[in-house]
Each structure stands twice: as structure tokens, then as C-alpha cells.
Symmetry: C2
Amino acid sequence: MAVELYFFQPLGTNSGRVYLTLLEKGVDFVRHELDGRAFDHFQPDYLAINPKGQVPSLVHDGRAITEGAPTMDYIDDAFEGPPLKPSDPKARWRMRCWAEYIDQDFGPAGMMLNWSNVVRPFMGERSRDEVEALLKRVPTDERRRAWKRAYERVVPEAELAESRRRNEVGAARMEAALATSPWLAGDDYSLADINMFNFFSWMPRFQPDLVNAEKTPHAMAWLDRMEARPAVQQMRAETTGRRTPPQTGAETT
Amino acid sequence: MAVELYFFQPLGTNSGRVYLTLLEKGVDFVRHELDGRAFDHFQPDYLAINPKGQVPSLVHDGRAITEGAPTMDYIDDAFEGPPLKPSDPKARWRMRCWAEYIDQDFGPAGMMLNWSNVVRPFMGERSRDEVEALLKRVPTDERRRAWKRAYERVVPEAELAESRRRNEVGAARMEAALATSPWLAGDDYSLADINMFNFFSWMPRFQPDLVNAEKTPHAMAWLDRMEARPAVQQMRAETTGRRTPPQTGAETT
């Protein structure tokens, strides 16, 4: 009944949301850290687990479970531990709306801004020949084009502006939701909080004009409640990588 | 405990998947058909129910439930009737992966092709002044741009080609899945079938080169099994509108 997780450091976004779900659920799992800079996720061994070369992947009883939000749901369904979905149907519906919003709007916007910041410096340390050789390993044309576009910095300014606009809408949406209930789905902590936390918690540091104590006090208080959770503290303790994870006032380190 | 549904005819895609979920679950509901050509969905009365002006919306106990896939989940959670989610966690995970795939890839591709076919003829019956006046009612800039782009036929050929490519991948993916199990999530009929059916069932008619008896026999047999279901027959009987819904060999009408 082995459980294994393949993930990237530093923990956050897609890797972080699945990692934190396992910690909140109390699942014991084998950690397999992949090195994104070495393109580990496009090596044949990993492509045999996840043919799309996407991270993270959970392996449970020899079966690969992929795709972020469905994997979080799977962890809650398949393992013993505290329930991470509210029992009330309307609260559960709100939880699912957050997941859709993250996957279709807020998440991609943040990832695009992040990519435009990190891919070029990251790929730029390599020669063009080396980059071309690495990109050959990307399993789909679509993703190869995305990598190349980020490397060559040809992401149109209009797309970056649209991503920034979506981040701004997201900050307002978070503040409105958390002004009326302690957790995103309502009274119960749920997968919605785990999911959003991994995409939102970098905002006070990287977009301090949008998320701060004056403008979004309820969202800041929610971040503090999140950081105080034992599972989040454990994730922070197990986070490595060049960039430290975003921190709020609740943290003492 | 009134249940009401606001939807578009002809039944299919986003309206059809929620409508069919209610029929499969055996929920008695009040039908409110909106006229898309009259822009009913951008009238103040409807925007009070769904500020995004998107269709369908379910109203249950006075509360609006919106967003397609989360609404389908809600119907299964909130009402008595046959379960529409498998109990096995891995089958349930497969069901959720189909929902993600439909919302993020296959669905938008089909909608884009469909839009490029129907929006112009539809809007084109009106004068430019009339179109401008209608577009003023669209509640977000983003959707106003999408409508305008479709009306003016400025959707780039590359985007249309990408949508056709996604449809082709979708046809192959369906055939592969249905070659190994009778329903998309496995042995049990589920929300995945209801969801995909409403986006896929038009393909034998509109993309007969991709979906046909020789190329995708398992997908065709699944369409026949779907059309034979009492709930689907009821949806077909309640479908109106200029274009008849797509039909397979199983239908006698």
C-alpha cells in the first residue's frame, strides 16, 4: 500500500497543493523530489509514470494518479483521516467553484507571471544548443511552444496585463469571501483552502500592492490562520530551493 | 423546496449537461428557457441570478447554483436518486479527470468552433447599431471582447486549427477509454458520461471524419447506449430550437 509523491521544490502551486493535502490527511508517503532545472520531469523514467511530464504525480498501489485538483479529491476519498470536504452540499459546491476558478483563471494567471519571471533566468544560464536539446524532451508540441515562448520572452504584453488583472480580481474575490466566513467554502476548512493557499500565499510578497493589511485584512488573517496549521508548518519545514516560500507575519523564522 | 433551471435551447453543451443530470437524478424542476438570440441572459432579471450572465443556472431553495461541473456535482450531492458518482476512489478520480479535460480543453475547443459557425449568422441578422447595443449588456469586458471577435470573424485561423486539433485528440481519447470500459469512469455510469455526452454527441454529424463507425466504433456504441437511456430520450423529446440535436443510428425519429 505504498504511497509515493513526485514533486518540485520549492513547495507551492501544483506540487504544494497535493503535498499539503497528504500532510493534512495524515498520509505517510515516500518523497521523490524532481529537479526541474535538470528537466527530470521529461526523463523517460518519469514519463512512464506521467506521459504528459507534468508534476506532481501520486503513485498509490502502483497506479499513477495525476492532475492537481482531481488528485486532491482522490486523497480525501482514498485515505483515512480528517475529512477535507464539507458535508453540506452548498459548501461543497462553493469548494468546487474555487477549484474551477483556480484551474481556469487564477492559477494560470499566476503561473504565467511566475514563468515570465523565472523561466528565462533559469533557461538563460544555458546555451541555446543546450536549451534546444532540453526542449526536444518535452512530450507535447503545445508545452514545447509554451517553454520556448517563455525562454524567448515573446509572451505578449497584453497577456501579461490580462494575468495581472486576473490576480487583482482574485485578491478582491478572496477578501470578499473571507469577510463573510473563516474558510473559503464556509465554516469548514476544506480542499478549497489548501488549493488556494498554494497559489495565493506568495502574493503579499510579490504583489504587495494588491494583498496587504490595509487593503485585504481578511485575506491576511486567513493567511495567518493557514500558516499556523501544523500541516502547513510541516510543509514549510520541508520546503527547500533557491527561493524561500512566501511568508506572512505569523511566521517567526 | 422549489428547483428551477434557466437554460438555452437546443439542449446540449453547458445547458444540456446540467439538464440531463437533473433528469438522471429524477429531480422535478421548473423549466425557464432563455432566448439567447434576444440576449435574455444579459437582462437585469437574469443578471440578478447570475451576475456573469452565463447559462445554465440552477435555483434551489432560493439560492443560485452556477458553474457547469460544480452544479452537476451539487445535484448529485443535494438530491435523492441514483448515485451519479462511482464509489470507488480511482473510478471517481477518472470521472474528475474527464470533467477537468472537458472544462479546460475539449469543451472550449468545441465551443470555439461552434461559435465561429453560429455567432456570425446569428448576430449578422442585426444591424451593427443593434449589435453594439446588445453588446453593451454583456456584463464583463472579457466576454464582450469574445462576442465581438466572433461577430467580426477575427478569430485567428491558428486558434481554429488548434481547436480542431483538440477535437481530434478528444475523439482518439474517447475511443481509447471506451475500448476498455463501458462507461468513461469504468464500470459505472457517472457524471463523466453525462458531461462528455453533451459535448461529444454532435461530432458524428459535424465532424464525421473524426467520429464514425470505422474509426471510433467504441465511441459510436457508447453514443448508442447513451441515446437509449430514458433520461436522454426525455432530453431529446424536450429539445427544441432551429437546429435539431445531433443524432446517432440508435434514434428512430
